[in-house]
Symmetry: C2
Amino acid sequence: MDQHRQSETHQRRSIGARKNPNTEAAILDAALKLLLAKGGKGLSMDAVAREAKAGKATIYRWWPTRGALLLGVYARIKGAHVHADTGCIETDIAAFFEHVFEFWQKDAGRVFALIIAEAQSDLDVAEALAAYRSERINDWMTVFERAKERGELRDTVDCKLAADTIIATAWHHLLTNRLDVKGSDLARTLAYGVVKS
Amino acid sequence: MDQHRQSETHQRRSIGARKNPNTEAAILDAALKLLLAKGGKGLSMDAVAREAKAGKATIYRWWPTRGALLLGVYARIKGAHVHADTGCIETDIAAFFEHVFEFWQKDAGRVFALIIAEAQSDLDVAEALAAYRSERINDWMTVFERAKERGELRDTVDCKLAADTIIATAWHHLLTNRLDVKGSDLARTLAYGVVKS
DNA sequence: TACCTAACGAGACGAACCGTTCATATACAA
DNA sequence: TTGTATATGAACGGTTCGTCTCGTTAGGTA
């Protein structure tokens, strides 16, 4: 019968007046799969709907733009940021680069790079990215202020600018596809600068 | 008559077996105009063709992808890079940031940001951007090596990494829409790092 | 229980965009 | 003058976009 046909092809259906977590998972999985298989331009709403066997209205309901979908994918695969506290700011920075570059070398890097790209032409993504970036800056500011309190840093250091430079370096290596550098080299440059004492 | 109709609506036509410079100018102007008026997503090949009153085949012949068109627009409005040589690396860096941020605050910044974005999903643009970036890195490496020779820098400084950090900082401020910072503040952080002597 | 509301898959719809094809117009060479 | 090569613009089929409708499912509420 007709009412059985769809149940035979695939089972996922409405589970009532609430979001179906299976549907959400299927859509985000499909988006990530397409993204990795066909690159950023392979991620179209139509293709995701086909791949996930979902209705387009369902996708647009939860992720109204392509950028929102990208943010959803990244949130799904992202773990919590943990900052090492080795008592030495240089090794803290080095550990951060090693950790984030390794994480980005799996699928997450391509997703995050596309989010930065999308932010250049989608104001909502830009705002979400700015908020996320602000959190990361604050994380690093506390690390720097801790280091300053224990007398490791020069008193004139602007902690916010220092934090910003670290994030800038990380993003830059992601965007230019150079995630294979040694974190310790980057850390040395950022910790000591260039000018002789 | 039919063969006169098109000549009446607009005059630009083939000038034989060579590129029509008027057409090139009209297309690049149209692309820039759309880009500034409607943002990155307003720049479609169709819209450019309409705005420039040109055939799409003409556009695709000279700029086979959207990214190539972006590169063409940027090349058209970009001036030559000149590096100050004040004898002090910190003020050289500060002058660079002031100069490039001012340049980017006019239309060029939006164009270059979109090129970086496009490079995340277009391999050709990524290669062109890498080549361009490589030139800028080399510029800065010579500046740093000059400073090292006159004894201004620590001997252990990696000039390439230092150059990379400057470009990273500039890009980051562009991508996060913060071109209104003081170049001297950025220069101080990059020149002296954070760690006490 | 009976009704209301909301999520879901499917796909139709017009608009816009993509990349290509084709016919024509022009310059240059033989 | 005639032939060839290239630039140019209009048109075409296919894809994507974002919205909408439809029938179905199931939780929440009275």
